[in-house]
Symmetry: C2
Subunit: 215 residues, 2 copies
Amino acid sequence: MNQEHNNQTDPTRERLLDEAERLFADKGYDAVSLREITTAADTHLAAVNYHFGSKENLYLEVFRTRCVERARRIHQPLKELDKRESFTPEELVRTLAKAFLSGPLTDEERKRHSQLLAREMHRQSKAFNILSQEAMKPFTEHAIRMWQRCLPHPVEPERLKLIMLSIFSQVLYFNFARPVVTLTMEREYDQEFVEQIVEHITQFALCGLNGDKGK
Amino acid sequence: MNQEHNNQTDPTRERLLDEAERLFADKGYDAVSLREITTAADTHLAAVNYHFGSKENLYLEVFRTRCVERARRIHQPLKELDKRESFTPEELVRTLAKAFLSGPLTDEERKRHSQLLAREMHRQSKAFNILSQEAMKPFTEHAIRMWQRCLPHPVEPERLKLIMLSIFSQVLYFNFARPVVTLTMEREYDQEFVEQIVEHITQFALCGLNGDKGK
DNA sequence: GTCTATAGCAGGATAGAC
DNA sequence: GTCTATCCTGCTATAGAC
């Protein structure tokens, strides 16, 4: 109980979560079999039932631990910025875009995270509820408070929420739909390209913020 | 051969495609069984093999016929605009956003289309190839030619492609991730809300087009 | 040509041996 | 506690009756 036998650090349990996450992200819930997962995790079928009770529960545990933890790390740069005395809207937007596209996660993690998110985003499932309650909702609300703090003139929250959704849709898409992006741009993802995308989204969103002046 | 017995109009075949499309969009390829589809289409298991050869082929046929056909209808408003003597960038962007969000499709069709697209968007599959070759590529290229036609000053194609991707990511997201949108905005989809979204994306993209002037 | 009946296999879950 | 061996269900595909 004092070191290795609690739920958090059992190595078999961790390996199962690792492989489950990878495979679920890659193929989706129904396309992955428990046999596939346990073989990859170098253990046996019954281990899933022992540690998680069922396939469904293993899936949910991936969201409860892995995804929520990654979401926290994505949130981190925003919190850092918020600690500062002051910041500009441009810095806020760039921090948002960077957090998702070149931020704290490794490229592999980013891909998995986007895939799992995208898979759950359109169905009201338990996994979706975990994500929205633990990750998306607090993140969005925090970002909006930060905007209201740094914008020179007040902007109605509805507009800010729409802009948040627009930014979010783009970072998700540029991570998730890479085949479409490389096909359209005739260009592979490398550091320079990602920086270009971050810059594109930043400028896009900034103009969206100030945009209605010209109307 | 002269009326009802060719592939295009066999009523059982059509019902199978209808139900397959609905269920695949709703649950994804692996979560749907042929039994489910044939029961919904009020026919028997063997009919799938008779008409399509396999589950995989039925799936692909949904893309080859239904999705490509819908993509053509989404393309239509753009073609109409292109026939005109001249048009503004704003008209072009609004036409693009409307085509996906309130355009030629019914709401039900729009949902299905977005779901099927989103499901295939991240994996290089046969279905993806059909979509990108038959629908996305020609559409994107046409839109870019139209932009180059109506923009007062030349804009490099790479920038236009990025803007196309940004618009596309947003319309896809606002169709596909409705649970997230309603949760964030605390608002259900109705005609007024959809119009607001179209307006939001239009302004967003327009500013993105002219945006770097202010930098 | 249509559809029933079944083959053959893979899935998740679990009983029970160690 | 661990893991093998097995259960049973549900799947796709197809052979063959009508």
